[in-house]
């Protein structure tokens, strides 16, 4: 809600911003669509410019006629009105010409669409899953799983009246905590789906967006041209709730050789992370890691102070979950709560994350602090699985 203090604070920001020339601060008056870095995006850009050109020409003609009428046929200039009100020839002409233009335009548009829908002969497949509010990436052939959400610096700056100037944050709102890496010169098939609500995966430089819909798997593809290696950024495009504006996409395109190295590196890291979940953590280490997990996953709803937002997001403090049995707590985190924004974090958090999170939150807001080890979570997760499969 608009509060008086936030209004006042905001105005303090607005007024200097108005006085100082904003163009000095941001200096980016982008006007047009990106040409992008894939054959498809270039096709789209060409089509966009062509239709824009056609519209501009028609616009000049029509607006020109209006302008001439306004100048020439005004009563104050002594214009005498004609009485004609019909001309079959004129009407046939201005029905036929637009039809012709449309038919001519339809050919390249159809060609581009056929190209977009042809996902055959792709070299690799990545399954992209939308969550509220992060993206999950599953490299089907290489067996790599990545979750990518808004990075810490942006997340801190984007809190209401954070006092952090967005200009001071690199790639504000367009940076993720983890990047996905893609080889150039390779046809990559993207399968989009979602776990909770509808999202839409969009990187403008790739030339398209595709909705990620729960219960559906959509197919698309792209191929970044060799020599166009670099970092490409995008955002979720379909309204997906409170933090829709805060689930960016970062795609790092590298050479196929560098990609192979990255895959090896990721495999090694997976082993290391598995080890982390097996060792016994100190209480202090759990606290530090738990705080990080909380800030990245829970804070946007339950708030930094754990008080939630009354009526929308429940408070952590004095909650039954925090003070109830550990198994219920783990269950809630893993499977979420049906019919609410509380999504299941099972796929997103490993046992160490969950153990640290519970340790941190009970220490901070619970009646009694708990020190939970990853092994305990693993056991409960295993028990859960057994129950689910028995059913």
């Amino acid at each position: 809600m608009l509060s008086a203090t936030s209004l006042r604070r905001g105005l303090y920001g607005v007024i200097p911003a108005l006085l100082l020339s904003p163009s000095l601060a941001y200096a980016d008056w982008a006007l047009n669509m990106t040409e992008g870095v894939t054959p498809y995006s270039k096709e789209v850009y060409g089509l966009h410019m062509a239709i824009l050109g056609v519209c501009t020409v028609i616009g000049i003609l029509v607006f020109g006629m209006i302008l001439v009428s306004i100048i020439k046929f005004r009563k104050s200039q002594g214009a005498v009105p004609a009485t004609w009100h019909h001309s079959t020839a004129a009407e046939i002409i201005w029905t036929a010409i637009p039809i012709l233009i449309l038919v001519v335009m339809a050919f390249p548009a159809t060609k581009a669409l056929v190209m977009m829908e042809d996902t055959a002969h792709s070299a690799m497949t990545i399954k992209v899953t939308g969550y509220q509010w992060r993206w999950g990436y599953d490299y089907v052939e290489d067996g790599i799983e990545i979750f990518a959400g808004l990075d810490e610096a942006s997340n801190r700056a984007r809190q209401i009246n954070s006092g952090i100037d967005p200009v001071s944050v690199d790639n504000y709102l367009l940076e993720t905590d983890n990047h996905i890496v893609i080889p150039s010169g390779t046809k990559v098939r993207i399968l989009t789906t979602a776990a909770d609500v509808i999202h839409s995966w969009w990187v403008p430089d790739l030339g398209w967006k595709r909705d990620a819909i729960p219960g559906f798997v959509n197919e698309s593809w792209f191929e970044v041209e060799s020599g166009k290696e670099g970092v490409y950024r995008g955002q979720c495009a379909e309204l997906c709730g409170k933090d829709h504006g805060f689930m960016p996409i970062v795609v790092e395109v590298v050479t196929p050789a560098a990609y192979k190295e990255w895959v090896a590196d990721m495999k090694a890291r997976q082993v290391a992370s598995a080890e982390l979940t097996q060792k016994t953590w100190t209480a202090a280490a759990l606290q530090t890691h738990g705080r990080k997990v909380y800030e990245a996953n829970c804070m946007s709803c339950h708030q930094a102070d754990g008080q939630g937002i009354p009526g929308i997001f429940p408070a952590m403090a004095a909650s039954q979950t925090l003070n109830g049995p550990l198994a219920d707590h783990v269950n809630l985190i893993i499977q979420g709560k049906a019919g609410t924004v509380m999504t299941g974090f099972g796929p997103l958090l490993n046992d160490a994350d969950i153990a640290a999170l519970i340790s941190y939150s009970t220490q901070t807001w619970g009646d009694t602090a708990r020190v939970v080890q990853p092994a305990e979570v693993a056991e409960l997760r295993g028990a859960r699985r057994a129950v689910v499969s028995a059913n």
């Binding site: 809600m1 029509v62 209006i66 009428s69 046929f73 009563k75 001309s87 398209w208």
Partner: protein, 534 residues
């Protein structure tokens, strides 16, 4: 022409309106109800406009300064619902009520009690909708399109919002039935269909669209209700349902809805341009056929709102071809209006200024519409500010500007006074400049990659957002000028003649100004109908 009462009509409550609040609550008079609709729409424009200003305030610069994201989403959602169902639609029903009986030489609407009822549903429906801001969980925040599964995450507001939509649907259907019944049964002798003023024609077509599509919306939102509260899974994939099916059903309503908002605008502009060009409307019959074609096409293009959901290639091609085809009848209309001005003898009173601005700016909205209709490029445009710019060009500088044009055009007939022309022109010029400062940069933002419905953005979008917000504030506050004009005009001013405008033709200009409480108790003479034709 004088409007003499027939001596046999002695029920005095038929002749003079009751006094005070009861007059307005119990009225069955088409002019009273028209006034109620128009005033209600005016209030709703300001309610929805205030929400738009909250949006533009938050987007003035990057970072969150004023509202939290959840409330921001409520703002975009309720802004749209209020503007569409509370602003533009009631405004058009208000015009229909006031003008259709006078244009066809009928004494009133065919179903006066239904008429009263269809208006008085509205204040209750919007009270229901607006009170959701005070419920736990806040107002609906899933977008006016109400897509599941997101909309099912709404708090206690969901059933209230859905019942509000049901009420609005009932009101619209009742209003539409009334228009159809009136036009088909109560035309004066000699007023054949192809002599109807275009405003009446476009409204009949609108009425049929309403009757065909509002029940579809009602069905869709009812399924949402049962999904949320009664355990059905129409749209829940986990229960075997289909979230995309909702979008198909919604847009089967939603696309004709777009034409419900804009077709009466075509009618108003077709009345104003010939009047101030002092030349008959070019291609009357092709205007009628073009309107009907647009209405027909509106039923077979719905999926262009959802090209990115992953339809089969054949589906995407079909909806692309039908969508770009709409440019043909729409083009015919634009060309006909331009041809009407050509070799006319034009003057530029406020209604004409708004009509010309409509012609230019609606065409710009049409161009971006054509671009959006081309599927492969839509994969880039979809859900960006380019779309926001497009539909605000067709709805604000299209529908709302023509509502302004119509209001200035007929105000003298409604009030009996000329409005303040200087103030009207000031209102026009401030509006037309600021509205372009507001919406034109949004094309750039969308092309540069800014998604719609976001409360905060990357700093690369900061410049154009600031420009757009400045335009928004000027446009929003300058509409207060319109209120001043209307109040001044109701209170007094130069006495309006019956004909009001030198080039005006049509039956409504043959009655006194202000129009008497009852008009055409006896049908007009056939000569008057022919005289109105041109």
């Amino acid at each position: 022409m004088s409007d003499t009462h027939i001596a046999t009509d002695h029920h005095d409550h038929h002749d003079e309106p009751a006094r005070g609040f009861m007059r307005w609550l119990t009225t069955t008079n088409h002019k009273d109800i028209g006034t109620l609709y128009l005033l209600f729409a005016l209030v709703m424009f300001f309610v929805g406009g205030a929400m738009a200003l909250v949006i533009r305030l938050e987007l003035f610069q990057p970072g969150l300064q004023f509202v939290n994201p959840q409330f921001f989403n409520s703002m975009t959602t309720v802004h749209a619902l209020v503007m569409i169902f509370g602003g533009v639609m009631p405004a058009w029903v208000g015009f229909a009520n006031w003008m259709i009986p006078m244009m066809i030489g009928a004494p009133d609407m065919a179903l006066p009690r239904l008429n009263n009822w269809s208006f008085w549903i509205l204040p209750f429906a919007f009270t229901l909708l607006i009170t959701t801001f005070f419920l736990p969980g806040g107002a609906p925040a899933g977008g006016w399109t109400l897509y599941p599964p997101l909309v099912l995450q709404t708090g206690d507001a969901l059933p209230f919002a859905i019942f509000a939509v049901h009420f609005l649907g009932a009101s619209s259907i009742a209003g539409a039935i009334n228009v159809v019944a009136t036009v088909f049964n109560m035309r004066a002798p000699g007023m054949t269909l192809m002599k109807l003023p275009l405003f009446v024609w476009t409204w009949i077509i609108t009425a049929f669209l309403l009757i065909a599509t509002m029940p579809v919306l009602a069905g869709a939102v009812t399924m949402l209700l049962t999904d949320k509260f009664f355990g059905t899974s129409f749209f829940a994939a986990a229960g075997g349902g289909d979230p995309v099916m909702f979008q198909h059903i919604f847009w089967f309503f939603g696309h004709p809805e777009v034409y419900i908002l804009i077709l009466p605008a075509f009618g108003v502009v077709s009345a104003i341009i010939p009047t101030f060009a002092r030349k008959p409307l070019f291609g009357y019959s092709s205007m009628v056929y073009a309107s009907a074609s647009i209405a027909f096409l509106s039923f077979i293009v719905w999926a262009h709102h959802m090209f990115t959901v992953g339809m089969p290639l054949a589906g995407e091609l079909f909806f692309m071809y039908t969508t770009i085809m709409i440019a043909v009848p729409t083009g015919v209309k634009i060309f006909n209006w331009v041809a009407t001005m050509w070799q006319g003898s034009m003057t530029f009173e406020t209604p004409m200024l708004f009509a010309i601005a409509f012609l230019v700016l609606f065409t710009i909205g049409g161009f971006s519409g054509l671009m959006l209709g081309v599927t492969p490029v839509d994969f880039q445009y979809h859900d960006t500010y380019f779309v926001v710019a497009h539909f605000h060009y067709v709805l604000v500088t299209g529908a709302v500007f023509s509502i302004m044009a119509g209001a200035y055009f007929w105000l003298p007939k409604w009030t009996g006074h000329m409005y303040d022309e200087k103030l009207g022109k000031l209102h026009f010029w401030v509006s037309v400049i600021s509205v372009n400062v507001l919406f034109f940069p949004q094309h750039f933002l969308g092309l540069a990659g800014m998604p719609r419905r976001i409360p905060d953005y990357s700093v690369q979008f900061a410049d154009w957002n600031m420009v757009s917000s400045i335009g928004g504030f000027v446009f929003g506050f300058s509409q207060l000028l319109f209120v001043v004009v209307v109040i001044k005009c109701i209170r007094g001013g130069v006495k309006a003649t019956d004909r009001v405008w030198e080039g005006a033709h049509g039956l409504e200009w043959t009655v006194a100004s202000p129009a008497p409480y009852h008009t055409f108790n006896t049908p007009p003479a056939p000569a008057a109908i022919e005289g109105g034709m041109r």
